[in-house]
């Protein structure tokens, strides 16, 4: 992996023209999301794995400038406090330090001199020691241990740490190999004792991972195989863009989901993932046999049902679920249709069906935009070809840039639209929600038209006309998108939105 300094940059939130220049070279220069869509800038920094390690070292050093303890101890303490320096300092100076070290499972470095290393369990046999793991009697030079005094031979340490790292996936919290000894093995000791590079690499990975995961101000880029993390100065639901091009919400790690909020989005995702929709389908499309409760789907035929469960074989009416006998000879019609009980059953079923349809309505539209967004890369590629072709037809580079801008805006609109359906699904009907839906409809229509323009063939003759149309349309789309988002955000501020429990 080739990590370089250039990956670390501060995003000022401004749209730099530099990004546009890149486009001519890279096909995936699509990552041009408008980050300062609203309100003030949000400061963040993208860190490579190396930079994360450096950041971790810096954190330790920061603490060590104040607290004079070994850096390995500092690391264990920091990890114990989820890398919150302030919390550590506070406890360090306010509380009982002995307790602090004990809680963090590390030996108090100030006590080291006063309690001489005692060899607790290994028996000394005239200048040699016995390793408690392999029971080999070895010269002291081949034995080692932590400050707790439990000593084992190098080979056993290596095996022990390897098992912990490779099999159990423990990093920062490996304890001494002795029974009931809580003292943690520090990183330098692990690196000193483990010989295999694979294990060392995994260990490094585990401790950086726990560093990022424990640290509120850091988040791994959720994009597959991406090794970068994003660092912020305060946690907020804001879009951040990784060096790999992926834009996501810092607070929840999902794709940037304006206008819907993290909590609602999480509910939606859970709903989509859950089998609950399968059961909704079952509720809407099936009934249970009144005798044996087997689930039955009626796929045709008359209302006289005979349960196919061999041990049941109940005769009943599909409509009222009552026994078939009283229906007499009216085989195709249930004359008990309007009885209260049947009515109630019918209502319940209709309600459940309506609910499912409502979900499917929003889900389809959500999925549809998601699908279209996935074609984004393809569209960028075809647009790039078009732009090159146009440049061969005596158009200047600058004159064809509108196409790329159009795709950028198209993608932004699609993404916003996609999440408006999540928002709308949970939204209760109010005057404001009607305005919202109008905005949504307007943006949707405009976006689809822009999409259509971009798929048209561009020839020398219609070029001027198309360019005009595309430019008009994308300006309109962008304006509508901003208006929609602003309206939703205003609603958040003024508490317009009411949610349903669906």
């Amino acid at each position: 992996m080739n990590f370089e300094e250039e990956y670390m940059y501060e995003d000022s939130g401004n749209e730099t023209s530099g990004d546009d220049v890149d486009f001519g070279v890279e096909a995936d220069g699509c990552s041009h999301t408008n980050i300062q869509a609203y309100e003030e800038e949000y400061q963040f920094e993208v860190l490579s794995t190396e930079a994360i390690v450096q950041h971790m070292i810096d954190c330790i050093r920061d603490v060590n400038t104040v607290v004079q303890i070994p850096s390995t101890t500092t690391r264990i303490l920091l990890n114990y406090f989820n890398w919150d320096k302030e919390k550590l300092m506070e406890r360090y100076y306010d509380g009982n330090q002995d307790d602090l070290f004990k809680e963090a499972h590390v030996i108090n470095p100030f006590k080291k001199q006063t309690t001489p290393t005692k060899i607790k369990s290994s028996k000394k046999l005239s200048g040699t020691e016995e390793c408690d793991i392999c029971f080999m009697v070895l010269p002291p030079a081949e034995m080692t241990g932590l400050e707790c005094g439990h000593r084992f031979c190098y080979q056993c340490w290596n095996e022990y740490l390897t098992t912990k790292v490779m099999e159990e996936g423990v990093g920062q919290t490996i304890a001494c190999a002795a029974h009931n000894c809580p003292i943690l093995v520090d990183d330098q000791t692990v690196m000193r004792l483990v010989k295999d590079n694979r294990v060392r690499f995994k260990y490094q990975h585990l401790i950086t991972n726990s560093f990022v995961e424990c640290n509120r101000l850091l988040r791994w880029c959720p994009s597959p195989d991406c090794t970068y993390a994003v660092k912020v100065t305060y946690v907020d639901s804001r879009p951040v863009q990784c060096t790999c091009g992926h834009t996501f919400c810092f607070a929840c790690g999902e794709n940037w989901h304006d206008p819907v909020r993290c909590t609602i989005l999480r509910r939606w995702i859970k709903k989509c993932d859950d089998d609950s929709e399968t059961s909704n389908w079952i509720a809407a499309n099936t009934k249970e046999c009144p005798k044996c409760n087997a689930t039955i789907e009626k796929d045709g035929g008359c209302n006289h049902m005979i349960c196919k469960n061999q041990s049941c074989k109940a005769d009943f009416c599909w409509v009222c679920l009552g026994p078939w006998e009283p229906h007499g000879s009216s085989w195709y019609n249930c004359n008990r249709f309007d009885e209260d009980e049947a009515k109630a059953a019918r209502n319940a079923q209709e309600k459940s069906r309506a609910k499912l349809q409502r979900y499917l309505f929003y889900c389809n539209r959500y999925m549809n935009h998601m699908q279209s967004l996935r074609f984004e890369h393809k569209l960028y590629r075809s647009i790039k070809d078009k732009m090159e072709e146009m440049q061969q037809h005596n158009m200047s580079w600058i004159e064809v840039q509108f196409l790329k801008k159009a795709v950028d805006i198209l993608c932004e609109c699609r993404q916003a639209l996609m999440y408006t359906y999540v928002f709308a699904f949970y939204l209760k009907k109010t005057n404001q929600s009607v305005i919202f839906e109008d905005n949504q409809k307007d943006l949707e229509t405009a976006t689809e038209m822009l999409s259509e323009y971009l798929e048209r063939d561009i020839t020398q003759e219609n070029l001027i006309d198309i360019k005009q149309k595309v430019q008009d349309k994308y300006r309109y789309c962008d304006g509508r998108r901003k208006a929609l988002l602003e309206h939703v955000h205003e609603g958040y501020e003024k508490d317009w939105w009411q949610y349903s429990e669906t």
């Binding site: 408690d132 080999m136 098992t163 099999e167 029974h179």
Partner: protein
């Protein structure tokens, strides 16, 4: 088998054989095969418990990665205990799972198991039926455990009442062990045990 594991077991074997507990007949280990992957352990039921006077046999399987992973141990002798399955002999003990430490040995394992026999942990049960009896009817539990110790582990306490009840079920064609499990599970209520045996 990995070098460390074999070496360890060989050394431990000697340690257990030499230990003072062996002298007191409290614990014992034997080899089952020549390559030290399987051993047979024995522990004496601790005094002042329902297991007193019994001798319990254990199956010990040594994994490739020993001593960095714990040995796999289960009771071969049937036993009535909240943390040991009355059916399979599987043991619920922290040091045989996540609390295992490389510096522990067969000797410490056997001693821990012996300690488990004297102090059960009914809140962390392996056998829910036994644990419930232990918590609700301690007296009944102790009688039952003593009876099991007598039948399977050679303990001294014979229980005429229990033996009669088992005999009654056997007369109805129920296999002896099955009858014992059913009676033990229903606090030696012959009627309910019969019901359970013949309803399934």
């Amino acid at each position: 088998m990995a070098n460390i594991a074999t070496q360890r077991i060989k050394r431990e074997f000697k340690e257990v054989i030499k230990s003072e507990e062996v002298a007191k007949c409290a614990i014992r280990v034997q080899l089952v095969d020549d390559n030290y992957t399987e051993l047979k352990g024995e522990i004496a039921g601790p005094p002042d418990t329902p297991y007193e006077g019994g001798n319990f046999v254990l199956e010990i399987k040594v994994p490739e990665t020993y001593p960095f992973n714990p040995p796999k141990v289960r009771f071969i002798t049937k036993i009535w205990h909240p943390n040991i399955s009355s059916v399979t002999g599987a043991i619920c003990l922290d040091i045989l799972k996540d609390q295992w430490a490389a510096a522990m040995t067969l000797r410490t394992v056997l001693l821990s198991l012996q300690a488990l026999l004297s102090s059960a942990e009914p809140d962390d049960p392996q056998d829910a039926v036994v644990a419930k009896q232990y918590k609700d009817k301690l007296d009944m539990f102790e009688k039952t455990a003593r009876h099991w110790t007598h039948v399977y582990a050679g303990g001294p306490c014979y229980n005429q009442e229990f033996a009669d009840k088992i005999k009654r079920l056997e007369d109805m064609g129920v296999e002896e062990n099955q009858a014992r499990v059913a009676l033990s599970s229903y606090n030696w209520d012959l009627e309910r045990a019969t019901e359970q045996l013949f309803s399934s």
